[in-house]
Each structure stands twice: as C-alpha cells, then as structure tokens.
C-alpha cells in the first residue's frame, strides 16, 4: 500500500497502463486479501499477462527489427 500510495501521489506521472509498479501492488493485494482459490489464480494470471504485454510492447518490436536487419 505504501508503494502504491507513493507511486500514485508522490511520483507522477503514472504511465498507466504501462506501470508495472501498480500492477505489482494489485498483485500483492490479491495474494494478501484473497484466499488461495481460482479467483486468486485468475487475478495473478491476469497480472502476469499484463506484465508480459507491457514488456513485449516495449521490447519486442525493436528486437525483431534488430533480428530482421541482421539475419
């Protein structure tokens, strides 16, 4: 919660939905507040999928460009 508060208030701008700190905070809350269940697993899977997506959008276009030029 401290991290989330810090990220949303003290340290603008927030690059939502690109902000992995917020995703991690929500992930953390899901592990603490929701008992182990399918619901918890679904939320965690969504968080992982989100992180996969934001990383891929930033990294892979450039990586594939690089490979295409080299190979």
């Amino acid at each position: 919660m401290i991290l989330l508060t810090w990220r949303l208030t003290w340290y603008p701008p927030v690059h939502f939905p690109n902000d992995w700190v917020i995703i991690l905070c929500l992930f953390w809350m899901s592990t603490v507040c929701i008992p182990r269940s399918r619901w918890q697993a679904a939320i965690q899977a969504l968080a992982v999928l989100w992180l996969f997506t934001v990383y891929s959008l930033q990294h892979f276009p450039l990586m594939f460009d690089h490979l295409r030029l080299l190979l």
Partner: protein
C-alpha cells in the same frame, strides 16, 4: 594443429582432475554447493597456473601442455580418479533437458562463430590477452588505453583458451565457463531455498537465459563473470560450505573487477544470517584455508602490480584526483543521489529493456521478460511464504542497493546488477512449484528469451553473414577494422583504437605502442622496427610527418610510410635538422 590440440586436451584434463582432487579435500555442505565449489576450484587452478607461468615467462602451449601432461600422469599414478557418481546429477524434466541442450548447442556455435565485437574489449581488455599471448609472458605492456590497467583476472581465463591454439577462436569459452558457474550457483541457491532437484533446474535455466548474462558470456566482457562469482559466493554461504572456499569466490571476484566489491555488503549479510547454521567440517581445513590464500594472491596480484608500477593499487583511478580523461572519480562511499537516480531510471525505463539486448546493456537492464513478468510478482509471494528465501532476498536486496548506490549513473550501470535476476529466477521456480499453471507463461518466457539471445545488438549489419562465410582461421568482421597488407609490425600512437583487431585472429601481427614526444622519435622507431603503418589520430606529430612527406594518410586511422626513395630528407641525402 594436432599437437596444440593434444596439449590443450591434457592440460584441461589435468586442471579438471586437479580440481576434483582438491574438492575431495575441501568438500562439505550440500552436494549442489560442492558442484559450485568444483567449478570455482577449477577456475582458480587455471587462473593461478596462467598467472604463475605468465609471470615466469613460460606461458607457451608446449610448456603448459608438458606440465599438464606430467601433472595428469602423477595424479593418475597416485590413484586420483574422478568420482563418476558425483558427476551424474539427476536430469531435469525432458522438455527442460531438450531446451538446455539446445541452448548449450547454440552457445557452442556462438563460441565458434563469434569474434570479439564489443568496443571496450577491443580497446583495453583483449589487447592484453594478445600482447601477453604473443610474448608468452605477462609483460608490462598493456596498450595505450587508460583503462588497460584494470585488474585482469578474467583475461587469465581467456589466455588459457587462446594460448594452446595461438588463436582466438575459442576465447569466448572463458565467459561460458562463468555462465556454467552461474547456472550451478543458481541451482545450489534454489536447493538452499528448499526447492527440489527438478524445479531447481528450472530456476537455473531461467537465470541462464537472463539476456544480459547470456550475451556477456560470449562477449569477452567481464561483468558476467563478476555476477557469476557473486552468485557463487551466495551459493557457498547458503549451502553451508566452509568459509575458506566461500572467500575464494570473493578474492577471485575482486581480481576480475573491483566492482565486485560493490556487492560485498549483501555477501556479508548472508554470512551473518547463516553463521549459526551447522557446517560440515572439510576433510582438510588446511587445504580449504590454502585455497582461500591462493585465490587471495591471484586476486591481489593486479592491485600489487599497479602499486609497484604506478604507486597506486587502483591506478588509473585516484581516490583524490579526477582522472585526466574524464570528469570521473572512483567512488569510495555510497551516494544517495546515485541510488535514487539509478533506481528511478531502472523502474521507469530500463526494466522494460526498451532496446534489442546488447552485451554492454546500453540503456537496458537485460533482466529479460522472465525476470520482469514472472520473477517480480514471484518475488512478492516467495518473500511472504518462504523463510529461507527471505534470507536470500535480504542479502540480494542489500547487494543490489549497494551496487546502485556505488554506481555512477550512465548508460551501462545496470551491467553491475546481473546477479539480481537469479533471485527472480529462484522466486519464479518456487511459485511454479506452488501453482502449476505458471509453467505455461514460464515456457513462453523461455521461448522468448531464446529468441532474444541469438545475436547481440552490437553486431553490425551483415555481421552474421560475414562471420558465417569466413573460414575460422581468419574470421573477423571487416566493418571493425581494416587489416593492413603484409606482416610488418604496426605502430599505435595516441588516438588509435580497436587495438586488438590489429593483432589478427592468430596473433600473427606484432603491435608496438608508443607515446612519442616529437616526429623524430616516430621516424627512428619506424626505421628500427621496419614499420610501414602507423595507427593513430591526426595529432600534431603525425600531421607534421604528413606535411613533411614522410607519411601519407591511408585507410581509417592508418598512416602509411612513404618509401625511402621518395622520402624528401633521405632522397636528398641530407640529415634532418635538429629540433
């Protein structure tokens, strides 16, 4: 070629058997930690051998091969044999075995086809390797780059892989050895965190595929080696090994690069947290202490050399004066400003790796999609649920904060943090052990990481095709440097760069370094050494020699000597006027 290969084979067999013999005397703690210890002893033996023979001026393939053969014969006659049972560890799950096999095969191809390509290595790491290999000794000459006086513990391993063939084709094996050490260390750390054998392989594979660490292995840079030695120190302490061998990792690390010291607070913290855990006593504590002492000497050699030659163990850094080359002073105390700016740059941008992966990690963290998308959330779960992991996380976190506080913010500072993704890999494997659905994203991440680690960003366009076309004996990327015709020595003066490429892949070209004070010194050196080409910047001295008709500009940074019959001073038979 057969004889050098034979010498290389016997010397390596002797080093491996020697490491095995020493391991029997110092082994204790968990079996996974002993695998780390074996690799560490092997690296220490090879480093020490190259250092001793290099200092004695006997660093030749024949000498090393003969000594290796003799040592092998003595060990075999004494009944020392490899412990085959301990060499048969349990295999990981079949898909992971296939994946690791594919990565190993690709690493072998990268070693075979890659040539040194990172500018830093061509400027100041590898000229030492080439110069000392040619001389068969660790000489005073290290080249013209001011950074060439940095510790060269990693270069000792590189020399080991080039000295027998007198060729650079296997030089990347030094980095691959350290990658193997990192793999074993992460496996051991996972076992210490309570993971089973198969999940520990998953953690080790995720760490192995950390893009920054992976490319460092085949780039001839030493930051990957430092990360592997940090991980080894963590693994030995967490694996309840005698402090002597654990200290060996620290000493070897400091001999590879002083930045190892940035991570020391975390290593000390882990030692403190583990100090009450019961430890097995090694068969020979004296040998364990001797190992620590030997590696201390190997690591301290470079600092002692700088103290002897330059009066300052940290030369060219100074604790008081800025370097004459950059506005940069070695930081001896952590800086909160650096810590804050390094953390913000990491979390705001570089953690996403917003570029293709380069070995130098320019503008990226190089932790990869596995560390980012799975490792970070897994860290939260593992810290909450696993007390053993909590201890590791505290130590790794302490080292990370320390490294970030000591590092000056630049485009490459995250290459000092390559040990940290290993913790994320262990956390991911712990989470995958708990929630099986996670194996799907981990499989996807491994596939993406495999794609990510094919060719580094530093490769020039067309570089891959050029390397694939070239025969191994003279494989190089022409875009790096033009190779002057003939076999005459090349003289390098102020402003020259990419020194290593001048030596050629088989180190057949002699390179001389000079810091001339006037044009006469250049001319006399060229006459004495029969030099046709000079490499350097257009300094006043070279400009004057061009103006006077002694030199003409050639390709790139090269100047060519004008033949004597066209040399105005000599053709007229008049001596040059004194200056």
């Amino acid at each position: 070629m057969i004889l050098p290969l034979f010498w290389m084979g016997t010397a390596n067999a002797a080093a491996l058997l020697g490491a095995e013999a020493l391991l029997q005397k110092v082994r204790n703690g968990s079996s996974a930690a002993n695998a780390v210890l074996f690799l560490l002893i092997h690296l220490a033996l090879v480093s020490g051998t190259v250092l001793v023979f290099g200092t004695l001026g006997l660093m030749k393939a024949t000498v090393l091969g003969l000594v290796g053969t003799l040592a092998l014969a003595i060990m075999l006659s004494l009944g020392i044999r490899p412990d085959w049972r301990s060499l048969k560890p349990p295999l990981p799950a079949l898909p992971l075995t296939i994946f690791i096999g594919a990565v190993a095969l690709r690493l072998a191809m990268q070693v075979w086809y890659f040539v040194p390509y990172v500018p830093d290595t061509l400027f100041y790491h590898l000229p030492k390797v080439a110069e000392w290999t040619r001389a068969g000794a660790i000489t005073r000459e290290v080249g013209l780059d001011w950074r060439a006086n940095f510790p060269a513990g990693f270069e000792l391993l590189e020399i080991w892989w080039v000295v027998f063939l007198h060729h650079e084709v296997l030089i990347e094996l030094a980095g691959v050895e350290f990658l193997g050490l990192a793999f074993a260390a992460v496996y051991s750390l996972s076992r210490s965190a309570g993971l089973g054998e198969r999940p520990s392989y998953l953690a080790a594979t995720l760490a192995l595929m950390t893009p920054g660490l992976h490319f460092q292995a085949t780039s001839c840079l030493n930051d990957g080696a430092v990360a592997a030695l940090i991980l080894a120190a963590f693994a030995l302490l967490a694996g309840r090994v005698h402090p002597g061998p654990a200290l060996s990792a620290v000493f070897l690390g400091l001999g590879v690069k002083p930045t190892f010291g940035f991570a020391l607070p975390g290593i000390l913290l882990l030692w403190f947290l583990c100090r009450r855990e019961p430890q097995d006593r090694p068969a020979s504590p004296r040998i364990a202490r001797g190992l620590a002492l030997g590696t201390a000497m190997v690591g301290a050699y470079w600092y002692a050399r700088n103290l002897f030659l330059h009066g300052n163990p940290l030369h060219p850094f100074s604790l008081h004066e800025p370097l004459p080359y950059r506005d940069y002073v070695l930081r001896t105390t952590p800086s909160l400003d650096s810590l804050a700016s390094n953390i913000l740059i990491l979390i705001n941008r570089r953690l996403y790796d917003p570029e293709a992966i380069s070995a130098q990690l320019r503008g990226i963290a190089g932790w990869g999609i596995g560390g980012f998308a799975i490792g970070l959330p897994a860290l939260l779960i593992a810290v909450r649920e696993n007390p053993r992991f909590k201890r590791l996380a505290a130590a790794f976190g302490c080292s990370l904060v320390s490294v970030l506080a000591f590092s000056t913010t630049d485009a490459w500072y995250l290459r000092f943090t390559l040990f940290f993704p290993a913790l994320l890999a262990v956390a991911a494997a712990l989470w995958a052990e708990r929630d099986r659905w996670l194996r799907i994203p981990i499989g996807a991440a491994l596939a993406m990481l495999f794609l990510d680690t094919i060719v580094p960003y530093e490769f020039p366009m067309g570089g891959v095709a050029e390397l694939a076309r070239s025969p191994w004996r003279n494989r190089s990327m022409s875009s790096f440097s033009w190779d002057p015709p003939g076999n005459d020595p090349v003289l390098c003066v102020e402003g020259a760069g990419f020194f290593y490429r001048i030596y050629r892949p088989d180190y057949s070209r002699r390179v001389l370094y000079a810091r001339p004070r006037n044009p006469e010194e250049v001319l006399s050196l060229m006459d004495r050494e029969n030099i046709r080409y000079i490499r350097g910047a257009s300094t006043p001295i070279l400009t004057e020699l061009v103006r006077e008709g002694h030199l003409k500009r050639s390709i790139g940074q090269y100047f060519e000597r004008i033949p004597r019959d066209r040399d105005p001073d000599r053709s007229e038979g008049t001596p040059r006027p004194p200056r």
